[in-house]
Subunit: 187 residues, 2 copies
Amino acid sequence: MAHLGSSVEYGLHCLLWLVDPMAGPASSRDLAELQGVSPSFIAKIFPRLEKAGIVAASEGVRGGYRLGRPASDITVLDVVDAIEGKKPLFDCKEVRGLCTLYGGKRPAATTGGICAIHAVMLRAEQSMRDELARTTLAFLAATVESKMPPDFPATVQNWFSGRMSARADARGHSTGPPRETRKRETP
Amino acid sequence: MAHLGSSVEYGLHCLLWLVDPMAGPASSRDLAELQGVSPSFIAKIFPRLEKAGIVAASEGVRGGYRLGRPASDITVLDVVDAIEGKKPLFDCKEVRGLCTLYGGKRPAATTGGICAIHAVMLRAEQSMRDELARTTLAFLAATVESKMPPDFPATVQNWFSGRMSARADARGHSTGPPRETRKRETP
């Protein structure tokens, strides 16, 4: 299994729809349906992104998720850590101390400080994290946008607007919070 | 679960016993028992290291595994790839092509080339791999040795010699290959 799973991939793709010029607000269901991925999967990811301040939720029939701060201040590493937690590249079990010649004593001189094998893994992990921290959501969105037809952002905005209007109509223009927001408030 | 598992940790620790001045040859069972880890686990790892040329096996009652090339020519990345295979940090599912607005068509202009999200993950992975490739087994062994009491390498050599002698005695000084080598030849 890959270290960074589908939740990171799906989360990043859905976040891109919240970056200007396509910017939300949007429900996690709309984001998932636009992206063509599982709504229940995305519904689990967005509260983690909200907790990390990457998105912020607003209430009301036209509420939903927006970015919690400028896309240029959100790195891929921020998103990875918010979704996956800080899972280590390598989980050192301190095997060096098990050498049979130590007779169960783990001599401080030999097994003190960080294990040399753990140290190289930590350097590799830091290098990976540094690289993920170098790319922002704004940069990703600009790259994606550069490949789109010029009218595509407007098409996306229209799609979101259509979904919101349909929801408002279905509720008789209720001013209450959308179903998703209510659900999050009373888990 | 960590990306690089116990097999990498155990494999690297056992390999360190094959670096001068402690250098083998040693059976995978002796290496595992010296290190205090599971012999059956190590017995599965060493054939992979042999296939990658990291270790070489010799036959005879004093045979066993030696390093297949100088420790300064074996990087941590070599060991990781030999043991784990080249498993990706991120497994791109090409989610971008699933956007509902594409109507199942995946337009070449928008979904051609590498996905921007996949690209940043590949850069992070390469950065991690570059760091693992910067550290050699010789460097690791020197770091570990610098913490050992001066007479420890001789103690290790004596331990290996004692194991071999005991095995030779048990077989009546047979000149045939040790059990492990025979077993590997006829899997």
